[in-house]
């Protein structure tokens, strides 16, 4: 067949057939319909779902030629499907909330799109086109689906932000609206107890309309004229010395524009976030430390040619013995991977006197736990585009959690001054900590620099899994001492963290793991030692939870073991030892405010008792009529610092500007990964200026246009950048007020702002007119504020190591099949002390996603590396939870405001995930008496455990 004729969103196209082309590529590359996303190209994620003759199919594995003569509907055509065919009447169109603004024009959305926006189902948005198309196909067939039918239909349409319950509710709400013609039923959601105009209210995301219509541009959706495509030759061996490299065949391949090696690096050879230990390209006679190390990079006219060229590069290595785990790495006979040895850092926490602490104890217990390496599996693989400019500068389009850090690291390797580079941050399809390190930014920039043409470097899922830093695998030994009454006297922990080939943020992550390793409890005597070790595994770095996910699993398992030994209720044991205002932490910090742990524990306990209908929810209960199915609840608590802490200067800049059209723009380089920072910033500015949030525009992640917001990590942005935006807005407001005061000759206190208008002495002045007025007076209507968070102290010095902590408690109910060892999680109650609810819709999404990540960490996720070689190098082998595994999630927000947080808020992004894993494993123990001390849960081991050594 030489031609394909297909109808896409009602429009007929005739195109020449291309060998090997999939429908996804045809839509994205040839028709520029980039709303259809590619998350895996292996039929696993569902992001690429489109309708072919009304049925949802995966366009990434659907040969384009097969679409000949067929009718295709993509996300870009969804809105028109509604207006053209299914709207009950004109009233319904209006009812849905009216028209939405999209790239300057007004559009009527499909009720599904409306519901996704209004319910907050859109987070990073990368999976959303797939979710919507799958849901649309379902509703066409079944206008009144049950929850089970929705789950069945969405089974393999993955969302890593994992707002599955909200997605389900959105579909139900849309279905109802479609059936009745009524507006979308609003979400049921807990608002802040404190009344504000905007803060704590339901506000939708500024980027939601783009994201539900497929118009949102992620990095790979961008194309430039004359753009080249890059590919990287990876070492493919875990440890060795590069002895021979032959790039001649690759260079000679027609269509290849350049091939670069370490010799072509203009500046410093190494990059890194804290330690410069990671070679941009490994040079001849230099050491390869993991399979993902690069040895050469290629730019070519097409992606296929670039990949073919990489296969023509010949590299030979002198293989070295592989260091495959951190305990082995610390043994003296292990080969040294770095000049400094294999020890990245020995981290110590000391409080009180251990001898005393254990002498005071009536009971002493000790156990060792293991956690697996896990991958962020953000659905959008890494992509960087470097664009050389005629003026000698370079722009880099990339979804990055730390744009200014990218700029610095690229500049270092190019040997350029930093301001010659502009990072133009793009929408990110999830990050979760995995987009803090350099991925392709340096390589794209080097290739663009040499070729003088724009260069795109896109990772496929396989490369993404091999290359970027993971969550640390750990071994954690916990020894506790306690009085008979449950009072903890001492906790000693020893941690080994596998930081892989390069440091990344390993030191910081393992420090957090260590300082939090005794749990959210007040304990007089604490000692913790952690060895963060280099190995030949893929590097480990930041991952939502930042080390605390691992240590919480260990210590919260131990708390349940202790409770059993002492015959004390596990909730009571936690409550009596819980940190409270006035407590001194392990690192010697006095908690002065905002410790809502006890309230979290109480509320979860009450809800658990209510839901289970029993006062002993930890007792195993066989399911009526199916005695091999046994249910029980489990409990866990947790805490997590907000902000960098440990003495690191923690600051963020934000700028706000009032325009003459009445729009206010807030600018900061802080990153939006889907977590909702842009919504929070919009809300803060609107609150401070008493104006409608829709009139606030948010610009983030651009090193030319936005002030440095610092890294988007450690759940810090609501607090730090939020404060910066708040104070910048207050400064602007003061300037606006004084302009009006002068003009109308009124005292400033007499000026009121209501709903975006200023009321002065009987005059009503619009925001736009204030801007005009300020400009007339020679004043720029904008304000920049650099916010410095309260100072913190390094570990070991005592005092405030962190300026705030978030607290949480969770309970999980599991059902274990005692015939097979299989299990499922039925309910999770999650209470979080977030200080203050700022953005309730976003918060609910964070809780759902956090719980699901914790559930994945417990039950499905296991990044397997054997002797340095990655086994789980495809999404098919690295499994993340889908909608069918989603339990009923009951979020409870607790508000104990922290003094310096904006409106009292503190970080939420990580705490929501931390107690989930131990709550689940504790529940498994309660159900069948098998203690899981190694993650993830292995159903075979559960079965053997319950058959041969039950409780």
């Amino acid at each position: 067949m030489n031609e394909i004729t297909l109808t896409v969103n009602g429009k007929k196209h005739t195109l020449p057939a291309k060998p090997g082309e999939m429908l996804a590529a045809l839509l994205r590359e040839r028709l520029n319909l980039t709303g259809t996303k590619i998350g895996c190209e292996e039929a696993e994620c569902g992001s690429c779902t489109v309708l072919v003759d009304g049925e949802p199919v995966l366009s990434c594995v659907y040969p384009a030629v097969r679409a000949d003569g067929k009718e295709i509907v993509t996300i870009e055509g969804l809105a028109a499907e509604f207006t053209a065919k299914s709207a009950k009447n004109a009233k319904q169109e209006l009812n849905l909330g009216g028209l939405r603004e999209l790239s300057g024009s007004k559009v009527q959305l499909h009720p599904l799109q409306e519901a996704f926006i209004q319910h907050g189902a859109v987070q990073c948005g990368f999976c959303i086109p797939g979710q919507l198309m799958t849901a649309y196909a379902l509703l066409k067939r079944n206008p009144d689906p049950s929850r089970e039918e929705i789950r069945y239909a969405l089974k393999d349409t993955l969302c890593r932000c994992a707002g599955y319950p909200t997605i389900e509710n959105s579909i139900l709400a849309a279905a109802q609206s479609l059936r009745t013609g009524d507006p979308i039923a609003p979400p049921k959601i807990q608002l802040s107890a404190e009344k504000h105009q905007v803060i704590g209210q339901v506000v939708t995301r500024p980027d939601a309309v783009e994201k539900v219509t497929g118009q949102a541009k992620f990095s790979d959706d961008i194309k430039f004229d004359g753009m080249l495509y890059a590919a990287v030759k990876r070492a493919g061996i875990p440890h060795g010395i590069l002895r021979r490299l032959d790039i001649s065949k690759a260079r000679a391949l027609p269509g290849v524009v350049t091939v670069l090696t370490a010799e072509d690096i203009p500046g410093e050879h190494n990059h890194g976030l804290v330690v410069y230990d990671w070679p941009a390209i490994v040079g001849l006679n230099e050491r390869v430390r993991y399979v993902g190390d690069s040895v050469a990079i290629v730019a070519a006219e097409t992606q296929e040619i670039a990949e073919q060229a990489v296969r023509l590069i010949e590299a030979e290595f002198e293989l070295q013995p592989v260091v495959s785990n951190p305990v082995q790495a610390r043994q003296p006979e292990s080969p040294s991977l770095h000049e400094s040895g294999n020890l990245l850092k020995h981290i110590k926490v000391r409080k009180g006197n251990m001898e005393q602490g254990f002498a005071d104890a009536d009971v002493i217990m000790e156990h060792t736990f293991h956690t697996a390496t896990t991958d962020h599996a953000f659905l959008e693989p890494e992509c960087s585009i470097a664009v050389p400019l005629p003026n000698g500068r370079m722009e880099i389009y990339v979804g990055s959690q730390i744009p200014y850090e990218d700029r610095q690291q690229v500049a270092r390797v190019l040997d350029w001054p930093e301001d010659r580079i502009r990072i133009v941050g793009q929408l990110m399809g999830g990050g979760f900590g995995g987009k803090e390190d350099i991925a392709g930014q340096i390589h794209a920039a080097m290739l663009a620099n040499v070729t003088g043409r724009p260069v795109k470097l896109l990772f496929d899922r396989h490369e993404s899994l091999l290359v970027h830093p993971k969550r640390h695998a750990t071994q954690i030994k916990v020894k506790v001492g306690a009085k008979k009454n449950g009072c903890l006297t001492a906790v000693e922990t020893e941690l080994y963290g596998d930081t892989g080939a390069y440091a990344s943020l390993g030191d910081k992550v393992m420090t957090r793991a260590t300082t939090h390793s005794a749990g959210p409890y007040e304990i007089p005597h604490v000692r913790a030692d952690c060895y963060a070790m280099y190995t030949n595994n893929p590097p480990a770095g930041a991952f939502r939870g930042f080390g605390v996910t691992q240590s919480a699993f260990a210590v919260e398992s131990m708390m349940d073991m202790l409770a059993e030994k002492l015959d004390i209720d596990p909730v009571e044991l936690r409550r009596m030892n819980a940190l409270h205002v006035g407590s001194v932490t392990n690192t010697g910090q006095v908690l002065r405010d905002s410790v809502g742990l006890t309230e979290c524990i109480d509320k979860v306990e009450a809800e658990m008792i209510r839901l289970s209908g029993t006062n002993d929810p930890f007792k195993p209960r066989p399911v009526a009529g199916a005695p091999h199915l046994v249910r029980a609840w489990g409990f866990a608590a947790g805490y997590k610092n907000t902000g960098l802490g440990g003495g690191a200067p923690d600051k963020a800049g934000a700028e706000v500007e009032l325009y003459t059209d009445g729009v206010v723009e807030v600018r900061t380089s802080s990153a939006e990964l889907g977590q909702g920072l842009v919504t929070v910033l919009r809300m803060i500015v609107a609150e401070e200026l008493s104006m409608p949030p829709e009139k606030v525009r948010v610009l983030v992640m651009d090193t030319d246009l936005t002030p440095d917001g610092g890294p988007t990590t450690a759940s810090r942005q609501t607090y730090v950048t939020g404060n910066a935006a708040r104070m910048a807005t207050q400064t602007l407001r003061a300037a606006m007020t004084s302009t009006l005061a002068e003009k109308y000759d009124q005292p400033p206190e007499k000026i009121r702002y209501i709903e975006g208008l200023a009321y002065v002495d009987g005059h009503i002045v619009s925001m736009g007119d204030i801007a005009v007025e300020m400009k007339k007076g020679g004043q720029e209507p904008r304000a920049l504020y650099e916010y410095w968070a309260p100072e913190t102290k390094p570990l070991g010095e005592g005092g405030d190591m962190h300026f705030a902590f978030a607290f949480a408690a969770q309970a999980a109910e599991v059902e274990v099949n005692t015939n097979t060892g299989e299990m499922r999680v039925l309910n999770v109650i999650a209470a979080n002390d977030v200080g203050r609810i700022v953005n309730p819709l976003g918060l609910e999404g964070q809780v759902e996603g956090g719980v699901m990540m914790g559930l994945g960490n417990a039950l499905t996720e296991n990044f397997i590396v054997e002797e340095g070689r990655v086994v789980t190098d495809r999404l098919a082998r690295y499994r993340i939870p889908g909608i069918e595994m989603t339990p009923n999630i009951i979020p409870i927000m607790v508000e104990h405001p922290t003094k310096d947080g904006p409106y009292g808020a503190k970080g939420v992004g990580e705490i929501v995930s931390i107690p989930t894993t131990p709550a689940i494993t504790n529940a498994i123990y309660n159900a069948v008496g098998v203690r899981v001390d190694s993650l993830p849960v292995d159903q075979e081991q559960i079965l053997w455990g319950l058959k041969y050594s039950p409780k």
């Binding site: 060998p19 090997g20 190209e41 292996e42 049925e55 659907y62 040969p63 030629v65 097979t820």
Partner: protein, 290 residues
């Protein structure tokens, strides 16, 4: 790498056989592509030149009754099998198996023919067809059309007896009579590839309180999709009480070759699970055969 150079979409079996015989090599059939395209992409299959797509071949699309048989075309996607009332009436185990394969998007394109031709010992559709005593209809450019018992298609994991110039046209299943029924069950694990760690299909005919006839298929219980013949004889003519089931299970376990797959399931675990599945599946089929 370009996945294919030439993609042909014949409309008839004859055209397809012709394309197989006369196109530039290497030539391969493609149905849904959910196995094949990934194998090609991920280097598990050597590159091809020509793909011959069987999705537009009318003879391979129907689900219909031919005399005393139910015919299911090899190109029928799993979603159509699941939705078919004929399949629900006559081949319940197959409907259950196909309903568990992949997610809805995969089931809309992945076919029963592809599931069988891929020749994995635990492919869900295949195991169901084994218990249902399916005959495979094969078309060959040199030998014409023939029907063989399904089990004769399999050589070993991923290897079939189909020649390069042959294709599967479809499957013939005996119609269900009164007192006959089938059931399919499987056990998965939440980590790693979405293939069952063990699956099972049972067809049986009930004569009041006795099993008049029975077929038990299990995967993976050896290199090929497997029938537990001795267990079947142990059940025939018996009332499926606990004692009978236990004895039949012993026979099954002594014949089956369960393997340890690293990080997935030990042979012991499989032996244990098959016991659970055996009793459950037998019970389900027995209750249905009333």
């Amino acid at each position: 790498m370009t996945r294919w150079q030439q993609y042909l979409q014949p409309k008839t079996v004859t055209e397809a056989l012709d394309a197989l015989a006369h196109s530039p090599e290497p030539t391969l059939l493609i149905a849904g592509g959910t196995d094949l395209l990934l194998d090609l992409d991920q280097g598990r299959h050597p590159p091809v030149h020509t793909l011959v797509d069987v999705n537009s071949i009318r003879e391979m699309q129907p689900i219909e009754i031919h005399g005393s048989e139910l015919f299911i075309g090899a190109s029928v996607p799993h979603s159509k099998i699941v939705a078919s009332s004929l399949v629900a009436d006559h081949a319940q185990a197959l409907a259950e198996a196909c309903n568990l394969i992949g997610g809805p998007q995969v089931r809309n394109v992945a076919t029963l023919g592809g599931n069988v031709a891929h020749a994995l010992p635990a492919a869900d559709g295949t195991i169901a067809l084994m218990a249902l005593n399916a005959q495979a209809e094969i078309a060959s450019s040199t030998k014409g059309i023939r029907q063989i018992p399904l089990s004769e298609i399999f050589l070993g994991p991923g290897k079939s007896t189909l020649a390069k110039d042959e294709l599967l046209v479809g499957f013939h299943l005996p119609l269900k009579n009164k007192n006959q029924a089938s059931a399919f069950k499987r056990i998965m694990r939440p980590q790693g590839v979405a293939l069952p760690i063990i699956n099972m299909a049972i067809w049986l005919e009930r004569d009041k309180d006795q099993i008049a006839d029975v077929r038990v298929a299990v995967g993976p219980a050896g290199p090929k999709p497997w029938r537990a013949l001795s267990a079947e004889s142990g059940l025939r003519g018996q009332h499926p009480d606990n004692k009978t089931a236990t004895r039949a299970l012993e026979l099954l376990l002594s014949d089956a070759q369960f393997r340890t797959s690293p990080r997935r399931a030990s042979a012991d675990y499989r032996r244990h699970l098959v016991s659970v599945l055996f009793k459950d599946t037998l019970q389900a089929a027995w209750n249905r055969a009333l």
